[in-house]
Symmetry: C2
Subunit: 112 residues, 2 copies
DNA sequence: TTTCGTTATATATTATCAAATATAACGAAA
DNA sequence: TTTCGTTATATTTGATAATATATAACGAAA
């Protein structure tokens, strides 16, 4: 069989999306760049979209996922909290496990 | 934890989507209705979209997934092939297994 | 108190996708 | 040979999402 199986997973809170692959990429970029502007730029994403995503994440998460400051040296910045880091890590682990699981599933599938 | 994990799976052939949840729903509706027009209507989908989806499925699958006839008694119709039925069944089985797997994964996840 | 790069926000424009509409071709049966 | 409901296809319209642009607020440091 020449078919491949793919998947996307996401985490919901109260029926709204909390975290998906795009948001996780953005959170990782924030962790690396220390700034939402730079993180957005590094992903080729508009600042507005990045800000909206992070706003939604923080509103729905049980604890703050990022912190930010305006003004001062460097103009301000954004950082991942420890909780945010553990969320990102959990998401990526489950995602990879899911890929493995699905590869196994399709390998054991027989079609007519 | 009050988070829920969701997923979507799909099958690709040569990098193009062969089958996802929407296409499987449509295939099942065709099997029930015996007609693409009626199947589309039952799902609140335009005929054009339904036709495009089925066309893509048949072009990418290794064997025909549906058959159709134009004209004649009843104007014609569309049916699922045996191969199509086995594809639908395989997809749904793997999808349900995936849900179970992910529920188990998130249950065993500890966040800070 | 001026400069700087950032966060935060609103508005307008553009691009993309979905839906609606129209029409030809078809073949069995009356 | 006319009718019927379907498949098959193109074109137009409308809705939605993404992008671009603009601007205020902020606070440390020079």
């Amino acid at each position: 069989m020449d078919y491949k199986i793919k998947s996307r997973i996401w985490i919901e809170a109260d029926g709204d999306i909390l975290l998906g692959e795009g948001r996780v990429s953005l959170l990782k970029a924030i962790d690396e760049e220390g700034s939402l502007t730079k993180a957005a730029k590094s992903l080729g994403m508009s600042y507005k979209k990045a800000w909206s995503l992070i706003d939604a994440v923080n509103k729905r998460a049980e604890k703050p996922v990022t912190t930010s400051s305006i003004g001062g040296k460097g103009g301000g910045g954004a950082q991942l909290t420890a909780y945010g880091k553990s969320l990102v890590e959990a998401f990526e682990t489950i995602n990879e496990n899911c890929w493995e699981f699905l590869d196994e599933q399709i390998k054991n599938t027989k079609l007519k």
